[in-house]
Symmetry: C2
Subunit: 289 residues, 2 copies
């Protein structure tokens, strides 16, 4: 029997809301910019008021509180987007629609979408990293949305410097963490132009590949995934993939066995639909669990 | 009913074999140095030939192959201890004793021991790191020995340099990875003396605390554990703990919420017994699963 399900991909830049089925097929969708909770939630409600969905999967920018025993469960917590700081996102949704919810990160739903329908099909452990305005990491562990005490924030790990690189980094929290050194705004600051205006042969991509390869190394040595899937605006620079693989090989120095790199470090297959597709699929799961 | 169980903590320096019960109580144990597989396994067999154990938990140094579908499942794979490279450890055990086995890393069994009977009691997600001749990381995720495609090798992550530190690092694979910068041999090389001969106020401990705090940051941002437990010879320097906590706070810059640090970054409680205790407890589990 077909269920009508809802999905919200709540990114720091824009929201996507959709309704669809349990196979992640999107029937209707809307997009709007992320402004204040007041304005943005008005649009969310305007969309979902039109449908009778049985469950909603929410993938939110964060950090968010995903611990059901915490008094601030369902909140966006320490985000630099100040109007959202300590906002009870899940609470607001529940107050409007008394249905079942999945509550996780935007990158976790994208990881889940790729796991079920994209570059992660057939793998158990799928790491997804988006390299856009920020760097976010989602992880599927043995087919489940990974959570420890909280969710991964693997975009903010600190990095060994590339020889000769003294760029200070732009992360407001950590300066030269991965996001501070390699997200879109860092590329722009290093090169003096937005990423999409640079030649594919610009030397900034060598630096970019070095840091992204190092991130792959850290994820390999911690999570040990079956595949590392990259999405986000910066990864539209396809020339990065062979460069990352090459740097990864050199950095790892054969320390642990990894799959054939062409199948290990790969581009997202669902493109910009990974997150919203994963939200619908995650909503489907809460009905059956 | 009491079961007689076996445990092997196979470290790169020494082996510990024990028999005990399903609560991890050790009834008899032996220790001997890790030399060649031929010599070392002779001692292992001499010990276990004396008992009728129902299952054995093996925690081995590595990297090891823990993928049951792999043709080299049960092997030690790419270790720098050359006589053990590509040695079929589990296969040799099974050929001698046709019983049930748990096959995991030495640090995973130590993590499991601490989870069940030590500093991890009452927590779901327990990260254990030993800082000794090398740095090894074990992880218990929701009460289970963590595995992805393979096991964590979190001692070899690359690090942001402490300002002014230009020590080349001693890891034969990566030079200045965490192990190369902060394991016992790195301390000795930096300070010109073994760690146990240094004053607790030696400035080398400040550098040590910086890198171990940074490792805690990476583990927090990836696995997101409930507790980080440190063991191994170097961590006998108890003054390191407050220093690591202080550095951790500074590095994280309040980005994600963590527990009270006195209960988050802690010393192993079972001391040198963590690994062998965890081996017995893991052996008990294979009988009930
Ligand atoms: N083709 C491209 N090449 C390189 N960088 C790009 C490209 N397209 C977008 N970017 C950069 O990616 C960032 C936006 O990332 P994106 O994933 O599109 O959105 P967001 O992360 O905000 O959801 C910006 O910094 C932008 O400059
Ligand atoms: N009290 C101590 N203080 C500092 N370092 C120590 C101390 N005891 C041992 N070490 C160092 O720890 C390393 C040995 O680690 P250990 O955990 O005992 O064994 P292993 O890692 O070989 O199993 C050596 O480099 C040694 O110098
Ligand atoms: Zn950061
Ligand atoms: Zn190393």
């Amino acid at each position: 029997m077909a269920h009508l399900l809802g999905g919200i991909e709540a990114g720091g830049t824009k929201f996507v809301c959709a309704v669809g089925d349990e196979n992640g097929n999107i029937q209707k969708r809307v997009k709007f910019p992320t402004t204040t909770p007041e304005e943005t939630m008005k649009e969310v409600f305007a969309f979902f008021d039109q449908y009778e969905v049985e469950a909603i999967g929410i993938g939110s920018f964060g950090p968010i509180d995903i611990n059901p025993e915490s008094p601030t469960y369902g909140y966006v917590t320490d985000t630099p987007k100040l109007p959202w700081k300590n906002y009870n996102f899940l609470g607001a949704m529940k107050a409007r629609y008394d249905i079942a919810y999945e509550w996780t990160t935007d990158v976790n739903v994208a990881a889940y979408g790729e796991y079920k329908k994209g570059a992660g099909v057939g793998k158990d452990n799928v790491l997804y990293a988006t390299v856009g305005t920020g760097i976010g990491v989602g992880y599927i562990s043995h087919g489940e949305l990974y959570r420890g005490r909280s969710h991964p924030e693997g975009g903010h790990i600190l990095m060994q410097r590339e020889a000769g690189d003294d760029f200070a980094g732009v992360c407001p929290y950590h300066g030269a963490c991965l996001e501070g050194l390699a997200a879109g705004p860092a590329v722009e600051r290093r090169a003096g132009k937005k990423g999409d205006q640079l030649l594919s042969t610009d030397s900034v991509w060598e630096t970019e590949a070095f840091y992204l390869a190092q991130a792959c190394m850290t994820y390999t040595l911690t999570f040990s995934p079956d595949v590392i899937i990259f999405g986000g605006g910066v990864m539209k620079q396809k020339q990065l993939f062979p460069m990352i693989r090459e740097n990864f090989l050199e950095l790892m120095h054969d320390y642990v066995r990894v799959p054939d790199l062409d199948n290990y470090i790969v581009h997202v297959e669902l493109g910009d639909d990974a997150g919203i597709t994963g939200s619908l699929l995650a909503a489907a799961d809460v009905l059956t669990k």
